[in-house]
Symmetry: C2
Subunit: 465 residues, 2 copies
């Protein structure tokens, strides 16, 4: 569906000459996301209001032109990739923090606001917006609502969905609608707000986002514990939960990830380190000290051979360094790494990691695992070398086996990255035919011409349309 001169002119009339382009440069710059897929849009438009987006979508809908909304394009499953060309709709100009309402602990933002910018602004009011994806320094609020980002604090504070109270949304047919209320409770009609959160840009484009804020904890304690087996680390996680402590973060790093970081930042760990846990507790000053001590004792009782607690902000930073460097470190040793984002019930993390180990052996891959042990959310990284013939096909088979195991353990294919187009073909492993049909019917209801982010979530295009 090429965009002809007439349509281009109409789009230009909506956003203005300087905010539309079909130059090769702009098309390439809007062709990708963090999966490194490439697919060129025909045209890039950069609207600045709900009204403009409404008019663009009406036009696209009438002309059956695909529209691909994008924020920072930092998604990990192809969500922002313009698979079938059409319009790349860049929302980053809409980056205003409209209101921080201290009295009601609510804030209203536009979709293009960068998460960390918002978090910093909220902090000035002595408040906290808890969702904290690792990409927060560049990812936008709009994208994180579309994907329902999780992050490091999920175990205690939940995910993005838990904080989204109301939305202004442009439907694929161009109407501007409002869902939810700026109140802590509201049960009038179906919860369209939560339906939009995590819909991966396939049901509507958010132009205003109302989020709930909370007072931040008084104090945070940071602990790092080293283990000589994965099982000891997992047992420590279970024992912490059994002790009725819910840490703010409870991160797990395996041997392969540690090795990568050691090379990358010159970090050295005690010999025989097979796993480490990075644990943070927060709360009032008295409580966190007590909880931190309990966690140190539990770690030692579960054979941690070294436990460090940060006493200063610098030490905290240093304890975090290894966790923060994993992704770039793994990328450095395997630019072709295949990353997955599985989540299993917490009690099945050890079993899952063992299975991943076996699958790695079977397909002769090194696999690095790290992630949110408290959530059961494991980032699985298959370290491939794409130049080896057949390597990526073997990786795909390994991924399929991992997903089958995940479902067998009552887990989910994606804890926080979404489906996009990279996981859509596996979705039927987890979601039944009738359930999938319901989702497709909802998609068709909201987007009868299938113009908004086509090719995502639903694998079989024929069924989607």
């Amino acid at each position: 569906l090429p965009i002809d001169n007439e349509l281009y002119k109409k789009l230009e009339a909506i956003v203005g000459e300087q905010y539309i382009s079909d130059s090769d440069l702009d098309r390439v710059c809007n062709s990708y996301d963090a999966t490194k897929q490439r697919s060129l849009p025909d045209v890039v438009v950069r609207p600045n209001s709900a009204q403009e987006i409404s008019e663009i979508l009406k036009l696209a809908n009438e002309n059956h032109v695909p529209v691909y909304p994008r924020g920072a394009a930092s998604g990990l499953t192809g969500g922002a990739v313009p698979l079938y060309g059409g319009i790349a709709l860049d929302i980053t100009r809409m980056n205003r923090i409209i209101e921080i309402d201290e009295a009601n602990l609510m804030a209203t933002v536009e979709p293009g606001v960068v998460i960390a910018d918002f978090q910093n602004e909220v902090e000035k009011y002595g408040l906290l917006y808890p969702p904290d994806p690792a990409s927060n320094k560049f990812a936008t609020m709009g994208g994180s609502v579309a994907e329902c980002s999780g992050g490091l604090r999920g175990i205690k504070y939940g995910v993005t969905k838990d904080y989204i109270m109301a939305l202004e949304v442009i439907l694929p047919t161009g109407e501007i609608i409002h869902t939810g209320r700026k109140t802590l409770k509201s049960v009038t009609g179906y919860d369209l707000t939560k339906l939009f959160v995590g819909s991966e840009g396939t049901l509507g484009i958010f132009t205003k986002i109302v989020v709930k804020l909370i007072p931040p904890p008084e104090k945070i304690e940071t602990i790092r514990a080293y283990f000589s087996s994965i099982k000891d680390a997992a047992d420590t996680v279970s024992a912490i939960i059994s002790a009725k402590i819910v840490p703010r973060t409870l991160e797990f790093v395996d041997e392969e990830s540690i090795k990568a970081v050691s090379i990358y930042i010159g970090f050295s760990v005690p010999e025989n380190t097979k796993a480490l846990l990075l644990i943070e507790v927060d709360g009032s000053a008295e409580t966190v000290l007590k909880d931190a001590q309990i966690i140190i004792d539990i770690s030692k009782n579960n054979s941690a051979f070294e436990v460090e607690k940060a006493e200063t902000e610098e030490e905290k930073d240093s304890l975090w360094a290894i966790r923060r460097s994993i992704s770039p470190a793994l990328y450095a040793i395997s630019s072709g790494k295949v990353s997955e984002d599985i989540c299993v019930p917490r009690s099945k993390v050890t079993q899952m990691l063992e299975s991943i180990g076996e699958i790695g052996k079977k397909y002769k891959f090194r696999i690095a695992n790290f992630g949110h042990a408290g959530d059961g959310n494991i980032h699985v990284n298959i370290l491939t070398e794409p130049s080896i013939p057949g390597e990526l096909d073997r990786a795909e088979e390994a991924v399929k086996e991992i997903f089958e195991k995940v479902v067998e353990l009552d887990g989910t294919l994606s804890g926080e990255h979404g489906v996009g187009n990279t996981k859509s073909k596996y979705l039927s492993l987890e979601i039944g035919h009738r359930e999938m049909k319901l989702m497709q019917d909802i998609k068709n209801l909201f987007d009868p011409n299938g113009i908004l982010n086509p090719g995502k979530i639903f694998y079989n295009k024929e069924i989607e349309k």
Copy 2:
């Protein structure tokens, strides 16, 4: 649509002779809910499994017979009332707690489990299921998921929706589907789980409910503060939030409610009491003591002329007595009371209460207000005397004016009771035409023959069908 002998026999074959009845007694016993509306079903069936419900719904769907699911029928907006006859589907036999999974802080229950029974069982494991509607001693888990119950702890712990992770649901067309996962995070496809929560029995019948649990707080402190003006009480609420304290409960009781309770349980309050706040903080032992003291100081700074803090469990009970007795006390002085369940942004509670006062004067009603000040969720009780001619019509006009003010203040018609049939005609005040149409389309998608709980949420039957 009468149920003929043939259909009756088929239903009987599904559930067994002793679990079906069309006796007058059983029909009357299944005709009402807590709104005191009455509408007789043609037949009452009491299934005991997902399979049985699936077969019943298939039969009803083929024959276009309305099906009205009901648990304890304690809802306050007509949700369980069989408006158009048909089948009353009593799910209370399905009352098994299937699993309490300590390792994953999750539990799985059937819909007929009484909330308090579940809470007590969870407590034995040293855990907490936070949603706590006032009806918890009789209301069922299924009903509370259908209505998305709130309750006293919403300000700190959120509402039912925040704890529902996965569901087994029977669609109106009879298929058994599964939504969500027993994991803390999952972003595969649209969130059907949260769409079902709060759908008021119009989209499907829950047969398994997976909920998240949390460790309970170590300690709770209970405070009661008396004020000589509503504004002082509201200012206290604001000041507590500004102090970055989020209480577990923050309940408000107005003069009219206090008077009713005084008569009802012989409770005497200091003269000139125009409002009282009942406040609970929870957390670690050290934190709550500190927070309680801050709240006492804030109350006094905002002209509380008396502040009590419970030192023993008995004192706690005594401080709660007045709050707990409000509903029966108001019922005792006005069996025809019209109760609403509005919710406004917390900062607008004073303004809302002032408007309610003016509307009361205009229509010559005494109006008693109490509720969750921390949430902005006010239970408005218009004390009518139904035997006076025109009284209920005037009450309806007053309600409409109150609702208009609520929407003007960015509030919602219902914080936790739902729409049912009692509020459906006002819903368009809050929800736009396009948004309403989307909800109706979703309803039609899930329930093409409109057999499940017809007459609820959607006012215009013609549009609904």
